[in-house]
Structure formats: structure tokens, C-alpha cells
């Protein structure tokens, strides 16, 4: 094998390989638009985070502005403490509401930020005061059943009759 030919092939190979890494980084991993700066951190406490996972997106008006960095349980309040990393360039007012939402019925769980009217902005490490926890489907259903049972099922359909019997104990526990 001629030395020059060999060098050429290795050059082609290495260039292709680096191009592939760049392709994966830029086109697939979206390196340019998202994560080339560290951004800043916000903390929020929730009663229940539902199915929120690490690295879940943080969205404002449907636009991804950051990701969930850590989820911990506060041992005193038994609340979930969620740390989010927000991309630099996005700022939110002090009275922003953070809520845990689900895209569609079965889609991914994310945190939605709704900015308020305050003129002061949240800075690195700040705590979001107002939060709205995840809606847990089971709780919703049992609450619905409990309400139906409490209303006496007066106008209820025929199918409602057997249901209160099963729903009542859980409703009793939840309503203490």
C-alpha cells in the first residue's frame, strides 16, 4: 500500500467520522440551539410530581426552556423538591406558577411555567412559590366517584347504583 494513498484514506475516514459526530451533535442533538451554556437553576416544591422524570422538559407556552435536573424528597415537609435548569436568555417573574402537566393522555410529563405580572425576575437558585401538583388519574376518578356518592346519586343513571358501594370507603378515608 502506497503511503500517500493510505494517508488519503485515513484522512477521508477520520473526516467522515468527525462529520458524523458533528451531524449527531448538531442535527440530532441540537447542540447549537440548546445546551451550549449552562443556564441557571430554579427550585420548586410540589405535593406530588406524578410521573415526572429526570431530564423531563420545562416548557413555557409550549416552548422548551430547560430541563429537570434533580428530584428529591424534603424529609420534613414530605414535598418533592424539583431542581430545574433553565437556559440562559429566558427569564421568569417572581410570581411564576410551575405546574406538572402531561402532554396528551399518555404523553410525557413535563413542567409548565406560567409567568405572572411581577416586574422582579427569578434569579439563579430562587424558589418558585406557586406550584400546582400533578393530576393523578386514580385520585381524580375516586374523587369523582366520591362526589357522585355524596350527592346521593339522585339524578344518577342505573349504572351509578353499584358504584358508590366500592367508592365509599376510599371516599371516607380521603374526606376525614
Amino acid at each position: 500500500m502506497n503511503r500517500a494513498t493510505l494517508d488519503l484514506w485515513v484522512g477521508v475516514f477520520v473526516t467522515l467520522g468527525i462529520a458524523a459526530i458533528l451531524f449527531l451533535s448538531l442535527k440530532v442533538g441540537n447542540l447549537l440551539t440548546v445546551s451550549h451554556d449552562p443556564g441557571y437553576r430554579l427550585v420548586a416544591e410540589f405535593d406530588n410530581i406524578g410521573g415526572l422524570k429526570l431530564r423531563a422538559p420545562v416548557k413555557a407556552a409550549g416552548v422548551v426552556v430547560g430541563r429537570v435536573e434533580a428530584v428529591q424528597l424534603d424529609p420534613k415537609t414530605y414535598q418533592a423538591v424539583v431542581t430545574m435548569r433553565i437556559d440562559r436568555g429566558y427569564e421568569f417573574s417572581k410570581d411564576t406558577i410551575a405546574s406538572i402537566l402531561t402532554s396528551g393522555l399518555l404523553g410525557e410529563v413535563y413542567i409548565g411555567l406560567d409567568s405572572g405580572g411581577d416586574t422582579k425576575m427569578l434569579a439563579n437558585g430562587d424558589r418558585i412559590a406557586k406550584t400546582q401538583s400533578a393530576i393523578v388519574l386514580e385520585k381524580l376518578i375516586s374523587q369523582f366517584m366520591f362526589d357522585r356518592a355524596a350527592n346521593g346519586g339522585g339524578g344518577g343513571a342505573a349504572t351509578a347504583a353499584p358504584l358508590p358501594a366500592g367508592a365509599a370507603p376510599s371516599g371516607a378515608r380521603g374526606g376525614k
Binding site: 475516514f13 451531524f23 440551539t33 431530564r55
Partner: protein
């Protein structure tokens, strides 16, 4: 007769244990020796370039073709499942994440082990069998520096590049099938992919995996070649061992790395 049989069995167990411990220690010492000679390989770049040619360039075709087909099949199968949940725009996400995190490094690693790893073992083993390594030693040239280290470095350089090419071709194959053939909207294919794939978390971890696999396969390949029995049969056994051992260690390492890298995903 009975106690004799017991002693005999115990002795066998003891010998087997000692043998494997000895082999392990030997492998560790060999690895250290190879690492010590690695800077020498980098100083003599032309030798390493040659090995990048043999392990990288010559593996290109099989890697590119396999990547393309794996991506296309992934798209077909993924689409079939995703449409059941009405989530066929997520095809790009599914394909990209599977390839970048797992299939790219692992499948490229397995192909690399059987294409380049076995070739490295066979080459070094043959050099040993034909006394070329001894000849080098007698010429006061250390075979570890001249023969082994360049192949080791060449493998480590080639592997991540091959894995990235595999993933890229796979995504391209999925694009062909998903967008061109099935007719998913190209915008949502790329858009969903971009919003779901994270550079540091997915891409960098994938590259780290491929580097680790490259080190493992190259080290196993040069070890088996250098320590092959100097007969035709010994070289063929060593070649087989390279493929088996490096495939198994890729799969085992992949599991361990995945546990550490993507721990947050579980639970």
C-alpha cells in the same frame, strides 16, 4: 478410592482457580505494559495511521451498510408499534435515541470486534508464529511498542468514529423509510428528534460508550494475538477467543455503563 477421588477433584478445582488468577494477573500486567507503550505509538504517527487504515477504513463498508439497514428496519418496526398509540411523529425520537445511546456503540462494537479485532489478533498471532516478534526483539526493537501499541491506539481511534457513522447512517435509513417511504412529515421527524435528544446526555454518553468499547476490543485483540500459542491452531483459537470475549465484554460493559449513565431514567 473415594478419598482419592475427592482429593483429585479438589486439586483440579485448585489448579483451575490458580490458573485463572494467574491469567488475570498476566492480562493486567500486559494491559499496563501496552498502556506504557501507548505514547510511543502516538509519537510514531505513521505506524498508527497504518493501523487506523486497517481497523477503521477497512471496516467502513460493513459499518455503513449495517447502519443503514438497522436504521431502516428500526423505522419500519418502530412505526408499526408507534401508530398503535398514534405517536408516529415520535419515530425520529425512537430511532435516534436507540441508535445514539445503544445500537450505535453496541452493534458497531460487535461488528468492529469481528471485523477488525479478529484481524488484529490473527495478524499479531501470525507474526508470533513466524517468529517475527522474536526477530524484532533480537533486533533490539520492542514488539509491544512497534507492533502492539499502534494497533491498540488505531482501534481506539477508529471505534468512536465508526460508531458515529453507524448511528448517522441509521438515522438516515430511518429518514428514508419514515419520511420518504411511509410519509411522516419531515419537520416533525427532525423536530421531535431534536427536542428529545440531548447533546450531553445522549450524544456524549454514546460517544463515551464507543470509546470504552474501542479500548476493550483493542486490548482483548492485541492480548489474544500476543499471547496466542505459536501454531496455526493456536492463532485460530485466539481469533475465536477475541470475537467471543470482546462481544461478551461489550454487552456486559454496555449494561454497566447504561446503569451509571441513564440511572435517572429508571423509576
Amino acid at each position: 478410592m473415594r478419598p482419592d477421588a475427592v482429593t483429585w477433584t479438589l486439586r483440579r478445582v485448585g489448579r483451575a482457580t490458580l490458573g485463572s488468577v494467574e491469567r488475570l494477573g498476566f492480562a493486567a500486567r500486559f494491559s499496563v505494559a501496552v498502556l506504557v507503550h501507548t505514547p510511543a505509538a502516538l509519537r510514531r504517527l505513521s505506524l498508527t495511521l497504518r493501523e487506523i487504515y486497517f481497523s477503521g477504513v477497512l471496516s467502513l463498508v460493513i459499518i455503513l451498510v449495517s447502519g443503514l439497514f438497522v436504521g431502516m428496519v428500526l423505522a419500519l418496526q418502530g412505526y408499526d408499534v408507534l401508530t398503535r398509540y398514534g405517536a408516529n411523529e415520535s419515530l425520529g425520537v425512537l430511532v435516534a435515541l436507540s441508535l445514539v445511546r445503544e445500537l450505535g456503540p453496541v452493534v458497531a462494537g460487535l461488528l468492529f470486534a469481528s471485523r477488525a479485532g479478529s484481524a488484529i489478533t490473527a495478524e499479531i498471532g501470525l507474526m508470533k508464529t513466524t517468529e517475527q516478534l522474536s526477530a524484532m526483539e533480537m533486533m533490539a526493537v520492542d514488539p509491544l511498542a512497534r507492533v502492539v501499541a499502534p494497533r491498540f491506539v488505531g482501534g481506539i481511534v477508529s471505534m468512536p468514529l465508526l460508531a458515529a457513522l453507524f448511528s448517522m447512517l441509521g438515522i438516515f435509513g430511518a429518514y428514508l423509510v419514515g419520511v420518504k417511504l411511509i410519509g411522516i412529515d419531515a419537520g416533525s421527524f427532525w423536530g421531535n428528534m431534536q427536542s428529545a435528544v440531548d447533546f450531553r446526555y445522549d450524544i456524549v454518553n454514546g460517544i463515551i460508550k464507543s470509546v470504552v468499547f474501542g479500548v476493550a476490543v483493542s486490548l482483548i485483540a492485541v492480548f489474544e494475538g500476543y499471547n496466542a500459542r505459536p501454531t496455526a491452531e493456536g492463532v485460530s483459537t485466539a481469533t475465536t477467543r477475541t470475537v467471543v470475549a470482546s462481544s461478551l465484554s461489550i454487552l456486559a460493559l454496555d449494561f454497566v455503563l447504561t446503569v451509571f449513565m441513564f440511572r435517572g431514567m429508571v423509576g
